[in-house]
């Protein structure tokens, strides 16, 4: 059992409280993704799990053992950094080998492990190169290779793909998913790319200003966001938030409708004018000025819409989210 249990964790930098009080369970073998806006404390949390940063209060247990004050290397974790953090003066092989050399692992075993990692990550031909002679994707593979050979019980990733271009990011995403299936280790992954979060995670943790907004599997976050923040953070384009007098009269502060859940029809509830249309081939995103504020509309295929067009639309039944004045989810209009 190598779950990670975080209890009443607090982190303060000087007078600045970054994480007020955080509790989190990461189940054994799960792929847990931390998402949230920039500066919300994702990296700080990950670095505390790694032991690179000391919590101000609270405790962290890995596999049932309290490691709050343990050295990073003795926690059974490994970490892959955004900047790859490869040692520039060492070859790929030496980079992967580094930790084992320090731990005085016998040479044969080291060679075996380096060969295994190189095989898994397709690095065999690159072992004698310096990191400066590698592409971004190759560097990231080396960084992952370096963490595999440690046989960690928990893998930590801090935005590992954010320096890669879109195509490579997609490819590496698949490779990471395969790696997780193969190793079956617990993985904690920080990103602010929600496609990564939705596709990789079996548990997403949405953070905001050092607090956890919601924890859940990708689909439940998408279908039942507990707060307005989660509702707008998960999903692209963003969910439409509508505040009107009649909803407020019903005791609902805000209603939320995802762009794909708006239906264009002549008898629609709201009228709007098209401002911009983005046609992507398989779908189109239209940005509208409506009587209830700015709206985003997602349509399948290539609809014949152009800027200036007038249209009417209504939300699809059963796809409306209701939030109270604190931004919390509520069942529906009370009356």
């Amino acid at each position: 059992m190598t779950d990670v249990a975080i209890r009443s964790l607090n982190k303060t930098f000087g007078a600045l409280e970054i994480i007020p009080d955080l509790n989190l369970n990461v189940p054994d073998g799960s792929f847990t993704v931390l998402v949230g806006p920039s500066g919300c404390g994702k990296s700080t949390l990950l670095r505390m799990i790694a032991g690179l940063e000391q919590p101000t209060r609270g405790s962290i247990a890995i596999g049932g053992t309290d490691v709050t004050y343990e050295e990073p290397s003795k926690r059974g974790i490994s970490m892959v950094f955004q900047s790859y953090a490869l040692f520039p003066h060492m070859t790929v092989g030496q980079n992967i080998d580094f930790g084992m050399r320090i731990a005085k692992v016998p040479k044969e075993e080291r060679e075996k492990k380096v060969a295994y990692a190189a095989g898994v990550l397709k690095l065999e031909k690159l072992l004698d190169r310096k990191p400066s002679a590698l592409s971004g994707g190759q560097r990231q593979r080396v960084a992952i290779g370096r963490s595999i050979v440690r046989d960690p019980k928990v893998f930590l990733f801090d935005e590992p793909l954010s320096n890669l271009d879109a195509a490579l990011r997609g490819q590496m995403r698949v490779e990471l998913a395969e790696l997780h299936q193969r190793l079956k280790a617990t993985m904690i992954y920080v990103t602010h790319d929600q496609v990564e979060a939705m596709t990789l995670a079996d548990q997403i943790v949405v953070m905001n200003a050092g607090r956890i907004e919601q924890i859940g599997d990708p689909l439940s976050l998408y279908e039942k966001p507990e707060t307005e923040f989660v509702a707008t953070f998960i999903g692209s384009p963003k969910m439409n938030l509508i505040k009107t007098a009649d909803t407020q009269a019903m005791g609902v502060a805000t209603i939320g409708i995802r762009p794909e859940h708006l239906e264009v029809c002549d008898a629609g509830k709201w009228s709007a004018v098209v401002r911009v249309v983005e046609k992507l081939g398989n779908e189109a995103i239209a940005y509208l000025d409506s009587e209830v504020g700015d709206l985003t509309l997602r349509l399948v295929g290539t609809p014949a819409l152009k800027p200036g067009d007038q249209l009417r639309m209504s939300p699809r039944d059963g796809h409306v989210h209701y939030f109270d004045q604190h931004g919390r989810r509520m069942a529906g209009p009370s009356s």
């Binding site: 670095r47 790694a50 032991g51 690179l52 050295e71 990073p72 290397s73 003795k74 974790i77 490994s78 970490m79 950094f81 955004q82 900047s83 790859y84 953090a85 490869l86 040692f87 520039p88 003066h89 580094f98 930790g99 320090i102 731990a103 990191p131 400066s132 560097r139 370096r146 440690r150």
Partner: protein, 300 residues
């Protein structure tokens, strides 16, 4: 567009180009002047070292003398006072090498601590280092001497070497260099791999900051090689004297004119020429460390 605007832009472009050319010529001229200014003393030294003592005072300073006397001067230099010149060279080389290495290691360690660790008094210490950069070493010689006298290190080579290993400008350089050139995530990665702080310093930090270290070593080497006042005050025994102090004693002797002193001038000049050779060699040897540039540690 009309033809007139075309012509106007053409003329403007041409004027711009000729302005660029003029400023380039000015720059080249300025640099040439500077080069001349820097090379003149060297040329004087080289030419004078080829002259006999008589020619030294009777022929034009930037021309050759009536005969080419360099080899004889060298022989006289090495023979003078039972070959004490080589002893001075050896002393200078020893002091400068040890001081250069020591300064590089100390400045790197101190700069690393100041750049990458948070501790109480860090800013105060750095402010003191910065302050020390402003104080000329010469101003510290007398207090240093008193300190050395108290610790029994006067007339001891260590009295010259130890103070020369302290390089405030080196500490400053290394701190700034490491703050910018040494990625924190690299150190964190090494910690996760299980490297202790000492291993990180030796296996990660030192190789990556080698260009900076070489710079500090070189600055201290040259500084110690050229230092005159400190060894003059600290060292009394002739066998400890470095080249600067040694040549100066000969010079005094020559000026007094006693003991065949007059003949000494050409020997001193030749000695001065020989004494800059090690500095040039050290520069050439260490040059390759800069070729990677000061960001050799970064991969991006």
């Amino acid at each position: 567009m009309t033809a007139t605007t075309d012509i106007a832009t053409f003329i403007a472009a041409k004027r711009r180009r000729s302005e660029q050319r003029r400023s380039r010529i000015m720059l080249t001229l300025l640099l040439s002047l500077f080069l001349l200014y820097s090379f003149m003393p060297l040329a004087y030294l080289v030419l004078s070292a080829t002259k006999t003592n008589g020619d030294l005072f009777t022929t034009f300073g930037f021309g050759f003398g009536t005969e080419f006397n360099l080899w004889q001067n060298l022989r006289d230099l090495l023979a003078r006072d039972n070959g004490v010149f080589m002893r001075w060279m050896f002393n200078s080389l020893l002091y400068s090498t040890v001081a250069g290495l020591g300064a590089a290691i100390l400045a790197t360690a101190a700069g690393y601590a100041l750049a990458k660790f948070k501790f109480v008094g860090r800013n105060l210490i750095f402010a003191l280092v910065l302050g020390a950069v402003m104080i000329p070493q010469t101003a510290l010689v007398v207090p240093t001497f008193l300190l050395l006298a108290l610790s029994g290190l006067s007339d001891n080579p260590l009295g010259v070497i130890l103070p020369s290993m302290i390089s405030p400008i080196g500490v400053y350089l290394m701190r700034v260099y490491m703050e910018q050139g040494l990625d924190n995530e690299l150190l964190d990665a090494a910690r996760i791999e299980g490297a202790g702080e000492f291993v990180i310093f030796r296996a990660i930090v030192l190789p990556l900051v080698a260009p900076g270290m070489v710079t500090v070593a070189l600055l201290s080497f040259v500084g110690t090689w050229n230092n005159y006042f400190l060894p003059l005050i600290v060292l009394r025994s002739p066998q400890y004297q470095p080249i600067t102090v040694g040549l100066a004693t000969w010079y005094q002797l020559a000026q007094q004119g006693g003991g065949g002193g007059q003949v000494l001038f050409s020997i001193i000049i030749t000695g001065a020429l020989v004494s800059i050779i090690p500095v040039i060699i050290v520069f050439l040897l260490l040059q390759r460390f800069w070729q990677g540039g000061l960001t050799a540690g970064a991969i991006k």
